[in-house]
Symmetry: C2
Subunit: 115 residues, 2 copies
């Protein structure tokens, strides 16, 4: 799996967990791409990580959804020291606004799963 | 609320539901913008609809997350006759791949909610 994939990967069967991260980028760009890429790599290395999908509009509004096998994996990721530091920087420098939503995926379907 | 908003609106307190729709656009473009806009408007008019957020990369990969007050509202929206017809067309013409995930939002936080 490409850790910074922005397209489809094979989804597991529900239930599993999703972190929906919506953000509005500020104009400040310095270091963002490198740190974002590092966070993708780091997240992908955590226990319980499944997949990540990400999209951003030209105007800077973006949605990243990471998928996790259970809630404990998300709590651990939120508390990861390097991630905490990145969150702090993101809030101060890169994001005008952001929202994090932790959700339990109860069902899923799609074209890639149609047989 | 702008029905086709791609940025932030005031989120309610969890629990509520999310429909995470990931899609890879095909090259075919005819009629897409009009129908997508119609679907935003129609969704926003359904009972239980809360908000929608949407982002798409230049390469055609996009994520739209709609928020709903309960699961029944989502089931009704999935079965809406005009929406069903749009889904069918989307699968046939506009989307190379797509995934729909229905999830229960259990907690949420963000910069806009920091007091």
């Amino acid at each position: 799996m490409a850790a910074n994939s922005t397209s489809f990967t094979k989804a597991p069967e529900p239930p599993y967990y999703a972190v929906i991260f919506s953000s509005q980028r500020a104009d400040e760009d310095r270091g963002y791409a490198q740190l974002a890429d590092r966070m993708f790599q780091l997240a992908a290395a955590q226990p319980g990580f499944l997949e990540v999908e990400s999209a951003r509009n030209a105007d800077g509004f973006g949605i990243t959804v990471s998928y996790w096998s259970n809630e404990q994996a998300i709590t651990a990721w939120e508390a990861h020291v390097e991630h905490k530091s990145a969150q702090e920087l993101g809030q101060r420098v890169w994001y005008d606004n952001y929202q994090v939503r932790v959700a339990k995926v109860e069902r899923a379907y799609g074209k890639t799963h149609v047989t």
